[in-house]
Symmetry: C2
């Protein structure tokens, strides 16, 4: 290699050494500078290109660092032998396959995933966050316990004890992002041959989750009290995944005797457990809240789970679980490599939100707001048609509806959609199509929709589902 003659762009913001480096790199890659050839000395190239020797040195250093050339003592710089990069034919993904998922926007949406928009404590959240981001608090930037910020764990533990009757110490609490993530940890914690029993109908993500994690699961039918004991005996799961406070989607509350029966089932064998997902138990509109099943457990059989998705916001991505002491010991041994996924700033804001009594006040406020919406929705539905059947409206943030007009589930949803109202089907929550009830059932969440929208949309639903009636009454 006698000499190199790149053309430099002196107007470019790219430094000359980088331009030289790129030029030589491309020449090597394209094979125009052959393997093992010697590059010009720094002195020669410097005078040839009229740039400083330091510039040449910097370009050569970068090439050495990336492995394109090597420096041999007293001999100079030599080009390394590079393998030829093979190319294969790749089946490209179609452009549209990666395009953003379009969520169709309806004017009125009875979505189940969300909270009342106007009631989020924006001012308070701003103030707490501002106070938490504090240059004198080193914890803000330091990884702490993989189980979560200790003071937040303590606050959640006492909240659960007081409000949900959960028996636990703060050392049993694990903070995570979303119920799915907690389930994933449990799948890793438990024996890989365990079979999980899930409610049918039930939360549809659990199917996908167990499948995605290659964990065996079996769907267990529910009656009006919850999972049917005979079905449990028949399918022999190790771990039951249940929602006793407010079964999803049916809205049923599990009575005390079924609770005892399930606990007794678990007590019969050492490899049996119950996962209690208490997903929206904060919202009960009459009487006292139903205490958690965990509070009845005296044998370390119940894993309690909850989240702040319904009580504050799903976009906080905060969930928690309470492990029985012996499982916690096991978790700390086996799974401590999993760091707590919740950002420290958010954990600290939440900690103060609970500790200083704002959470309790927020819950009381939201309970009133949702109670009003629920009553308005129930009333508006009943005005819509006297034979409408409503289920599961005593608690939570959704209700189920049967419309006496002989339309199919699909027809009901499409007719509503044509009027700009989005309601949801219940059939998606059944693992087995055989179990889907003949008479279609719809699910309406009422957390996100406003009172005004409830009244307006129910009028539209009347036109959608009972056009003849609605023409008369117009």
């Amino acid at each position: 290699m006698e000499m190199l003659t790149p053309v430099f762009d002196t107007y470019s913001h790219i430094p000359i050494y980088q331009q030289l480096y790129s030029y030589i790199k491309d020449e090597i890659k394209e094979g125009r500078i052959p393997n093992n050839s010697k590059l010009p000395s720094k002195r020669k190239l410097s005078s040839h290109l009229n740039v400083s020797q330091n510039t040449i040195q910097a370009a050569y250093d970068q090439l050495i660092e990336e492995g394109y050339i090597q420096s041999q003592e007293k001999r100079g710089f030599f080009v390394n032998k590079l393998d030829h990069l093979q190319s294969i034919k790749v089946i490209k993904a179609e452009e549209e396959a990666l395009a953003p998922l379009n969520f169709p926007v309806s004017v009125y949406d009875y979505s189940y995933h969300g909270v009342d928009f106007l009631s989020f404590p924006f001012d308070l959240w701003r103030r707490l966050t501002k106070e938490v981001i504090n240059e004198y608090d080193r914890e803000i930037l330091q990884l702490s316990s993989s189980l979560g910020y200790h003071r937040l764990r303590a606050n959640i533990s006492s909240y659960l004890h007081q409000s949900r009757g959960v028996n636990c110490s703060e050392h049993q609490v694990i903070i995570s992002s979303g119920t799915e993530m907690l389930f994933q940890s449990l799948i890793q914690l438990f024996d890989e041959n365990y079979i999980y029993g899930i409610e049918n109908p039930g939360y549809e993500r659990l199917n996908q989750l167990f499948r995605g994690n290659r964990a065996a699961f079996t769907s267990i039918r529910i009656d009006e009290c919850g999972m049917i004991p005979e079905e449990i005996e028949r399918f022999q799961p190790n771990v039951l995944c249940i929602t006793p406070a407010h079964q999803f989607p049916s809205g049923q509350i599990m009575p005390i005797n079924r609770r005892i029966q399930l606990l007794n089932w678990a007590n019969q064998q050492s490899d049996r457990y119950i996962i209690e997902d208490d997903y929206d138990s904060e919202f009960k509109y009459s009487g006292k809240p139903i205490p958690a099943l965990q509070g009845l457990d005296e044998n370390e059989k119940v894993i309690y789970m909850g989240s702040l998705s319904k009580s504050i916001s799903p976009t906080l991505r905060v969930s928690y679980m309470v492990l029985p002491a012996h499982l916690m010991q096991h978790y700390r041994k086996e799974l401590s490599y999993q760091l707590c996924p919740v950002p420290m700033i958010e954990q600290k804001v939440l900690c103060r939100f609970i500790e200083e009594g704002y959470f309790e006040r927020h819950l009381n406020k939201m309970r009133n707001i949702y109670k009003r919406k629920r009553e308005l929705l129930v009333d508006s539905i009943q005005i819509l048609h006297p034979d409408m059947k409503i289920f599961g409206a005593d608690a939570g943030l959704h209700l189920l509806l049967q419309v006496p007009n002989r339309m199919s589930e699909e027809q009901l949803i499409e007719a509503a959609k044509a009027m700009g109202v989005r309601v949801y089907k219940c059939s998606q929550y059944y693992s087995n199509p055989i179990d889907i009830p003949k008479e279609p059932i719809l699910l309406l969440g009422y957390a996100m929709i406003s009172e005004k929208e409830i009244v307006e949309s129910c009028k539209l639903l009347k036109q959608a589902w009972f056009p003849s009636l609605s023409n008369y009454t117009k």
Copy 2:
């Protein structure tokens, strides 16, 4: 059941109906009110207890709801038959087993997990967060794409293209919490029989992670260029997990030819992939940054991963990966049940941090700070003893050290600890004890420690490791 006679505490803040409910519930649970017995009528009990019938009704309603009693039309209220709750003997976890993990505090800590405390942009972060928490922005409370906030994905995509030479569109970016979580998603995405090849020595959490997820893995030895091709052929992994920009812990940069060799290995079979963990590539102290391996890949073989743990803070818990288009298609089909774990407020703050140029400025600032610390540490170590050997200090936030005093790894660490200085062993990063080098190697992270502390602690290390020398020089 003729009558019930609870004693009410009229000074209590607990409402009378709840006191009555608790009394009856306990009587039923303890068997003092037998199964199937009839409770007093509302009218009778009301006059007996001198409380309103509404109070009695509220207590009975709660008992009905929880399943303790039932109302039979025109007959009254009857106690349900309850199963007997079985008790089994539980082996309790010892109290101390659940106590918080105590991290011993050293005066001087060369921990690898952290960032420079004083340089976090507290003011800016407060301001951006305050602006993001905005009552007119509905996105703050609405679950969006399971892949992450679309604008943050776009910003990360263009940052990676410009700074790391990564070829990708925003549709290929997934945002998550921590590299571990990204690996977990990939394990679910790939065939369950895939074998993962991990670097030996390498990031120790990967062992635990693959074990925890029941994925097969094999440790592959590295030479001074990275994973050894012959070893890869020998152990036949499907997916290589490598750190080409700055091998952890050795600090080596993978030269261009080894990169080509590994890509060629992947190109030979359709079930071969490379996971490139670019964990601290932002920090290179001389020359240009080494472009990502992903930029060389033309066959959708490389999965690129990075995080903000080193560049901003580990407590943000934000990581990202770039999937080849065909894998992204697959991910969206199979794993969309996994919601993005990063809170929306934080995603929006980060989005503005990157978009408005603060991230680039922060990186430049941190590069200078860490460069100064690194030079100070290298100088201080060389003053400590002329024969100290330092490796891997060209990039990243840690370096490796060999101390020429014939102490064992354990002795070096203990002697340092006795002087109040915490340094870390490298042997923990080897999967196989046979491969641990005879001469002990220590790992010193310098991101968290201050310049003043570097100078002070190196004097203490001299006393710890070369007591005779240090007596002379005192």
